[in-house]
């Protein structure tokens, strides 16, 4: 027979985004406290609804284990008189610890010999322990935002109304007495506020299932995973009844699970008039305020949606009607904004940007648009796409115009998307509207990159300008502070260059972007982009040392560095490369310490060095040719061919010979080899620490 404990805290509606974390903290907090007390039990289980947090734990002993605790007292020299009898200090210590003087021992403490008492700490009844640790765990919970209520003496995520704490060996029959935020613990909770108001007595519950069942009877599904399953099942049924599928939306599903006490869904129908709106607008409108799931048929938005509700049924159809009414109202609002916006050319909206500040020290969005226009043309010409000049200039000029539209004012997440739609409807060329629509892609580390070349170019130019502008006024991210999300912007630049790909040299592009600001901050910007490229290479699966080896030699064309890194990654642990890495490390050390010498192969004497010089002589050109052709595997194989001769060189040749000219010639040979490698990778970074 083992002990069981149930804890439930009932309060007003907790924010959905705080619940998963609160459950975890509650479980981890209780587990840690039990562990501290030496109590073994099953892992506590955490549950929640929008109004409650609960814990269930079983396998608890009736008492905490008895322990022997060693308590250190005063130094032995103070506790005992020279004759070995106890001093008053020694007696006092024994008395304070409740042990007989004869039980005192002398032990070696960190500061010499001290007296010590072994105390027998008896076990405590579990309810007593629980009454102490549960309030401590609850008050240590961390929430993103807390509040006060009533007289204002307590702080928690929301006002607390009930605390249930029940203990028992067979069934839960004993209230564990304590209070939290002025609410004393008891044996009864409340049911679902609307469908089952009134008390639910929890004493007598025998197991977890019994507890969950009692709450279910009171209209509450306490188990979030069960709620998720019910939502999914219900959503599938409601969709298939009208021959549709649910458009997947994991974030919204997650939120639904945490928003309710009972997982209900209703299907609403949309007036087909709204289907003439762009799909992005329909989906965003429904999601934004109403948290509705969209149904689709053959990949197209269907005239239905699913709305969450906190009850199992909709007896009179009010919930469906209400949601349909609101969805209709919101879509009609969106429809209104959409048609208002369409009457207003993007050019006119763009003019309003003179009044919208980009940054206090950096002028308006109109100023930014001018800079981006110049930069994107420069990028396109450098990449050999001069013919895109016209569309890119138009796109850059209009790119931010939708910030002044009604629709984006209402739904900021549609920026870019709306601009693209309006540009298309207003008759701009595909190169123009695609660029506007795709300028914010990728949205994050995982999001898709632009599909169109103009979108890729505009996205890179816009972000490089943002980065250069902010770096020029010292807004450089440090530690966890990155208020302008510059890391994300820089990573997006690297991702587009690497994945689209664009053969743009990032250091060069960064200096162009920094030019309007007199080049201020350009060194920091280059270093920042290089760091993001390292992150990019690792995210593509390159081992850290390989990424470092490549980036130490070259950076700024992420697609090339990625391909080169991948070629290197397949070779770097072969015996030949391990040997090469070791030899090259010696080359770098020597050249670094002794200087670059002079390239003078005719002065070399030994066979080993002459052979090496011969092999190296023709390599420069060949490597250059292979790099241009991006034949990275062949280029690396060519370098790998130097492993053997280099080894022989270091075995047979004394570089630091007394003959100054010969020494310079030998160093010159090594320096040439170093330059060769550094066209590709600093393989010394691959040397395995031995």
């Amino acid at each position: 027979m083992s002990g069981k404990f149930l804890f439930e805290l009932l309060c007003e509606e907790i924010p959905a985004n705080a619940l998963p974390e609160a459950r975890e903290q509650l479980v981890a907090g209780l587990a840690a406290k039990l562990d501290e007390a030496g109590v073994t039990a099953s892992r506590p289980l955490g549950f929640s609804t929008s109004r409650r947090l609960a814990l269930w734990v079983e396998g608890l002993p009736a008492e905490t284990p008895a322990r022997v605790e060693e308590v250190f007292g005063p130094p032995a020299s103070v506790a005992f008189a020279p004759d070995g009898s106890l001093t008053r200090a020694g007696e006092g210590f024994a008395r304070a610890q409740g042990v007989a003087p004869s039980e005192l021992q002398v032990v070696e403490g960190p500061k010499g010999k001290v007296v010590a008492a072994k105390k027998h700490v008896p076990g405590r009844a579990l309810p007593e322990l629980l009454a102490e640790i549960v309030p401590a765990v609850v008050s240590s919970l961390h929430f993103p935002k807390t509040m006060r209520w009533g007289e204002g003496q307590y702080v928690f995520v929301r006002p607390v109304h009930r605390v249930v704490a029940l203990w028992g060996l067979d069934s839960l029959d004993q209230v564990v007495g304590f209070s939290i935020f002025g609410v004393p613990s008891g044996a009864a909770t409340l049911g679902h506020r609307v469908t089952h108001p009134g008390e639910v007595l929890l004493s007598g519950v025998r197991d977890l299932e019994g507890y969950l069942q009692r709450l279910r009877q009171a209209g509450v599904e306490l188990d979030p995973s069960r709620r998720r399953a019910l939502f999914r099942q219900k959503a599938g049924e409601l969709a298939s009844e009208v021959g549709c599928q649910v458009r997947p939306d994991p974030a919204l599903e997650e939120e639904h699970v945490e928003l309710v006490e009972f997982p209900g869904l209703v299907r609403g129908e949309l007036d087909s008039a709204w289907l003439s709106l762009p799909e992005e607008v329909i989906v965003t409108t429904l999601r934004h305020h109403q948290k509705c799931l969209v149904l689709e048929k053959d990949g197209r938005v269907a005239p239905y949606f699913l709305a969450v509700c906190d009850r199992p049924d909709d007896p009179q159809g009010h919930v469906r009607q209400g949601n349909e009414w609101v969805a209709g109202a919101r879509l009609s609002d969106a429809h209104f904004f959409f048609h208002q916006d369409l009457q207003n050319p993007l050019e006119a909206m763009a003019e309003k940007l003179t009044r919208v500040a980009f940054h206090a020290k950096l002028g308006s969005y109109a100023d930014k648009a001018k800079r981006v226009e110049a930069l994107v043309v420069q990028l396109a010409e450098a990449l050999g796409f001069a013919e895109l000049r016209g569309p890119l200039q138009t796109a850059a000029r209009l790119a931010k115009a939708d910030l002044a539209s009604h629709m984006v004012g209402e739904f900021p997440e549609l920026q870019g998307v709306m601009g693209g739609i309006y540009a298309q409807k207003q008759g701009h060329a595909p190169e123009v509207w695609q660029a506007i629509a795709e300028q914010y892609l990728p949205a994050g580390q995982e999001g898709a990159i632009p599909k169109s070349l103009t979108g890729a170019l505009l996205g890179v130019a816009d972000r490089l300008d943002t980065l250069a502008a902010l770096f020029s006024v010292g807004e450089i991210p440090t530690g966890s502070k990155d208020p302008f999300a510059l890391r994300r912007h820089a990573l997006s630049v690297v991702r587009i260059c690497g994945e689209f790909p664009l053969s743009l040299s990032l250091p060069e592009a960064a200096s162009w972007a920094a030019a309007p600001f007199g080049g201020a901050g350009v060194t920091e910007l280059a270093g920042f982009l290089r760091e993001r490229e390292r992150f990019f290479l690792e995210s593509k699966g390159l081992p850290g040392p390989v990424a470092d080896a490549v980036l130490s030699a070259r950076w700024g064309m992420p697609a090339d560095e990625l391909a080169l890194g991948q070629a290197l990654a397949s070779l770097w642990q072969t015996p030949q490369f391990v040997q090469l890495a070791t030899a090259f490390k010696r080359v770098r050390n020597m050249v670094g310490k002794e200087g670059e010498g002079t390239w003078a192969p005719e002065r070399l004497l030994e066979d080993a060095e002459k052979a090496l010089a011969n092999q190296v002589a023709g390599m420069e050109e060949e490597l250059g040719r292979l790099a241009t052709a991006k034949a990275w595997g062949q280029a690396l194989a060519l370098l790998a061919g130097l492993a053997e001769p280099l080894d022989r060189f270091f075995t047979d040749v004394l570089v630091m010979c007394p003959d100054v000219e010969l020494r310079q010639a030998r160093l010159g040979l090594l320096a040439k080899i170093q330059r060769l490698f550094l066209q590709l990778a600093d393989v010394s970074k691959l040397q395995v620490a031995s």
């Binding site: 807390t146 509040m147 009533g150 928003l259 209709g328 609002d333």
Partner: protein, 294 residues
């Protein structure tokens, strides 16, 4: 239920809960919260309960009377319960029943939506209340007002009256809502919306508005000078500044950067006024503390 019945029923209900039924503040305000019966009364230790209807002006939300859901001036019904009682959510749900809304057949949900007023230096934690998916109320536990931490804490319940009437009457446009039987909202208010929109977006004299913003700022701080500051006139000056700012904003005359600075100027006066109010009440011995609560 007609709009007028919604108002009367709610005021009667809250009156029965011990609320003083107050009148709207006779000035332009952006929200019922700016009424001194809320902004000042939530400060300090004195208990208070009040309910009133407040026309709320948001010039930037005006739509020339063309949008069926947006108004530049709408009606809020504001309730303050100080300190917030333990059964405040239940009281609120009962208030819905006087509107004929039966929670047994509707879906009522409290969804996190915290409230903040940068111009008043005020913020609170709470929810928007959704009825069958429709937002009908903002429910807030005030934590700070005028930059001062509050104790006790007040619960603020704000009903959007046009929205609720629209919902109850199943109208697709605000202007079709029946104020009383046979008198549509549009017949009473549509022309005002058109004119106020035109004024806010096209006609308002920007340099005059800017001048008055500065004038009222000076005047407000002048009211707070001396040993016996004039709290209400100072608050009224802050409210005027706030409305002038909103008009300038609707007129497109405020840049993003300037915006932050102007809001900070209003807040500075609001914060000074809040402080002066608390001191004034303290000097008077917090008269409502001794059982004289409304």
């Amino acid at each position: 239920m007609e709009l007028q019945a919604v108002i009367l029923n709610l005021l009667r209900f809250w009156g029965e809960q011990g609320c003083l039924v107050q009148q709207p503040y006779d000035m332009e305000v952006g929200a019922g919260t700016m009424h001194p019966e809320t902004f000042l009364r939530v400060l300090g230790p004195e208990p208070y309960r009040v309910a009133y209807v407040q026309p709320s002006r948001r010039p930037a939300d005006a739509r020339f009377g063309e949008n069926p859901f947006r108004l530049g001036k709408h009606l809020q019904l504001q309730v303050i319960l100080k300190p917030s009682p333990a059964d405040v959510q239940e009281l609120y749900l009962r208030s819905l029943q006087v509107l004929g809304i039966d929670p047994a057949v509707h879906d009522v949900r409290f969804e996190e939506d915290n409230w903040e007023s940068p111009t008043l230096g005020a913020w609170g934690v709470g929810w928007q209340v959704l009825l069958d998916g429709m937002e009908i109320t903002q429910f807030t536990y005030f934590q700070q007002a005028g930059g001062l931490d509050l104790k006790p804490i007040s619960a603020e319940i704000t009903y959007g009256l046009e929205r609720i009437a629209m919902f109850l009457q199943r109208k697709t446009s605000i202007y079709e809502v029946e104020w009383v039987s046979g008198v549509p909202y549009g017949a009473v208010r549509h022309r005002d919306e058109v004119e106020l929109s035109r004024y806010a977006f096209q006609q308002a004299d920007v340099s005059m508005l800017r001048r008055h913003f500065e004038d009222w700022e000076r005047e407000g701080f002048r009211c707070l000078e001396g040993d016996d500051p004039l709290v209400i006139p100072a608050l009224e000056a802050a409210l005027k500044m706030s409305h002038l700012f909103n008009l300038l904003d609707a007129r497109g005359a405020v840049s993003t950067t300037e915006r932050v600075a102007m809001i900070a100027r209003v807040r500075k006066l609001a914060v000074a006024t809040a402080k002066a109010y608390v001191e004034q009440r303290k000097r008077a011995g917090f008269p409502l503390l001794s059982g004289g609560a409304a």
